[in-house]
């Protein structure tokens, strides 16, 4: 039960007759009038308890996009409900208006549509719907809260997909290229075609040329062999969800940047014909996508990533080789999305790197903080010089860990949050071109 502003005004208006008559009895008369009017209004208000609620809601939305959440309210009572409805969404679900006016005649159904623009990834929930029903005089209202749970899964935004077309184009350039400078096990023979100027002369297939050349021709028609990158390689992406993934760089948690990089790499690799497996790990497997291909891969990836938040504990790297072995026993490109910090903090990562690089090609991708780089250049006063020194020390630590990783045979990719996903994609293309997958 509650009262409206009109009721307050009605009570306050009693001052006029009291002052006009100067009679203290008017006070009690007015009070009685207010109470009676309020009680009558309350008794005539439609029952908010007898509202049936149904929801129409998409199950998923990409972060940053807007969906419409529709409430279908049915008045099962005998009186019209005039009032306000509040849909109890969590604040981060980004409901445009929390409250909506409704006019619900007895026995009828009305739709209330509220646009949702969630601003945090994960599972966003609504708990209940509250209905406040005013009487015909709009003086007093009845109120009831009705349980109506709902949830919408907010998927990672995948902003990095704007880098996808250019990377796919570069991938296509690899196809049918003749001059593969390093022919490794990752390239395979594709076809024979006629030589055109600019092709690498080393790829001329003399035997095929001899077969092709007609005896009476004026000159020989040169034939070159073409190669294409080998397909059906394995890519295993491991996202570290330990405490370092919670750190924010340029107002984006490391884990979100990691997701962006993983999504871009998966999209690229699956188009290139490689198999992508994904796992999230801190001290247990937080999520896993295996054996999905094509469009299903990306949708399963974002679905798995959506509810995962970093745990505030140290990642157990010692179990990661076993995790990779569980996914594939073949040679694979293993991408570790983690943080390269101080040598002490990276000891676990370094200790297993040798095991991984023995059987796999390993890329360690880490976000670097542009603020640290910026701090090294700000040296105007004493405090800033000390800050620059601390920043230099942090950069040196990162460089030392990176050098140690390279020494153990891993590749290191670092970049600011916006640059890491394309940088990782480029490294993948380079490795593919080099036949190291």
């Amino acid at each position: 039960m509650t009262v409206s502003g009109w009721f307050v005004l009605l009570v306050a208006l009693g001052v006029v007759p009291i002052v006009a008559t100067g009679e203290p009895l008017v006070f009690f008369a007015w009070l009685a009038l207010c109470v009676v009017l309020g009680a009558v209004d309350l008794a005539l208000a439609g029952s908010p308890r007898r509202v049936g609620i149904e929801r129409q809601l998409p199950t998923r939305v990409r972060l940053g996009e807007t969906v419409e959440s529709t409430l279908l309210l049915t008045n099962r009572g005998t009186r019209t409900i005039r009032g306000i409805v509040r849909d109890g969404w969590q604040p981060s679900a980004g409901a445009a208006t929390a409250r909506a006016r409704v006019d619900l005649p007895a026995g009828e159904r009305r739709a209330v549509t509220i646009p949702l623009t969630p601003f945090r990834r994960g599972e966003r929930r609504a708990m209940h719907v509250t209905v406040r029903s005013f009487g015909p005089l709009r003086l007093a209202a009845r109120q009831a809260t009705i349980d109506a749970p709902a949830a919408i899964r907010v998927l990672p935004p995948f902003h990095a997909r704007r880098h996808l077309p250019s990377r796919l184009a570069r991938l296509r350039e690899l196809d049918g290229r003749t001059a593969v400078m390093v022919r490794g096990q990752g390239t395979e023979f594709d076809s024979l075609r006629e030589y055109v100027r600019g092709d690498d002369v080393r790829s001329i297939d003399w035997r095929a040329t001899a077969r092709r050349t007609a005896p009476d021709a004026a000159g020989p028609t040169l034939v070159v062999r073409t190669w294409r990158p080998e397909r059906d390689r394995r890519v295993v992406i491991i996202q570290d969800t330990g405490r370092t993934a919670a750190a924010r760089i340029a107002d984006e948690p490391r884990i979100d940047t990691g997701f962006e990089a993983a999504l871009l790499l998966s999209a690229l690799a699956s188009r290139a014909g490689d198999r992508v497996d994904f796992a999230m790990w801190d001290r247990r497997v937080r999520g896993r996508v295996q054996g999905a291909v094509g469009a299903e891969l990306l949708s399963r990836l974002v679905d798995t990533m959506a509810p995962v938040e970093p745990e505030l504990l140290e990642t157990d790297w010692s179990a990661v080789p076993a995790l990779v072995r569980e996914i594939t026993s073949r040679h694979a490109l293993v991408v570790l999305l983690t943080a390269i910090d101080a040598p002490g903090a990276s000891r676990g990562l370094l200790s297993i790197m040798g095991q991984l690089t023995r059987t796999h090609t390993v890329v360690v991708a880490s976000v670097t903080d542009p603020a640290v780089l910026e701090a090294t250049k700000q040296r105007r006063d004493r405090a800033e010089v000390y800050r620059a020194a601390a920043a230099e020390r942090a950069l040196l630590d990162t460089a030392r860990v990176s050098a140690a990783l390279r020494q153990l045979g891993a590749e290191v990719v670092t970049g600011a949050p916006a640059d890491l996903p394309p940088a990782l994609a480029d490294r993948y293309i380079a490795l593919k071109a080099a036949g190291r997958l």
Binding site: G5, L57, P91, R125, P253, Y386
Partner: protein, 386 residues
Amino acid sequence: MSAPGTTVSTPTVRAGLRRVRFWIIAVTFLLVVAVATLLLTTGGGDGSPLSPENPAPEGSRAVVEVLRDEGVDVSGAASFEQAIREASGADVLVYDPNNFLDDARFDELADASARLILVQPDDTDLAALAPELDEDEDAFAPEPEAVEPGCALGAAEDGGTLWLDGTVYDTGGASGCYELADDRFSVVETGDTVVLGSLLPLQNDSIVREGNAAFALSLLGRSGRLVWYLPSPLDVDIAEAPTLGELTPQWLPPASGLLVLAGIAAMVWRGRRFGPLVVENLPVVVKSSETMEGRARLYENSSARTRALDALRLGTLERLAGRLGLPRSAGVDEIVAATARVLGTDAAGLRQLLVDRAPEHDADLVALSDELLRLERAVEQATRAH
């Protein structure tokens, strides 16, 4: 489509009452117990000091009961009119600590009574009845003590040594009884008025000390009829000036009351929550650069100049090596030599800057850091020109 909502989580009025039933019962029970205890302990008597019905330590029921047993007609007066009515030919005891009575009423009372016994009067009371007396506030005796009478008052002779405290009076050279301080007396008789500066001879808990009981009975029982008058706020003579109540217009109290009620209604209007809160786990916000900031503060607070400068030098050396095309494994000497070659400067001086010089104070550190930046810029320009 999701499951239709049917469960109402707001309790009905009946369910709400049932839920708080325990508390309603508990609070009612406690109230009943409290009221009962209050009634039993006070015994229905008047709780004020010197009240003839009050059996508490500060009351005077004991002396009144004994006086009645001795055949003294003690009547308690509840109002000024009653006191005047019963005063003729009687002793009147007045205790008026709040000054409810004005001079005129005191005079009226003195005229009507045979003898007036004033308990702890102050200067305003004395002005009307015994202007030769002055209350001496500086000599007020907070701690009770046994005092010799030292005068010829009848009651004092009966009582002897008394147990007294409280107000004392300056008689202006005339005699008084019970000298609590130099020439300051606790009991003074002037004409038909007896001034008693202490409550102790009349109160239940102190009446048995020393000669208090004999003194009180002798003082109060002399004439055989006693009016015990404790003035109340109703005895204030209201005929003199218009009170605040008369000055305010009649509509003001109901109007302000109504506005207070409107304010309460407004609180309900604005304060009623529209359904329960929805909880949400908030993410931890940890800035990645926080470790760097922390380390900077540590360097600064401990003035780790050499350590800070070494970090800056290592960063510069690494960048110089990269710019000059030296391998990662290049040593400090190689980098210094290569830099000196490019800039055409003295290698020893460069070595001082890049390795050897130790900063003496913070200004030194800032200067060295600026020099390092200048060096980097110079090498950058020199290599770009090549």
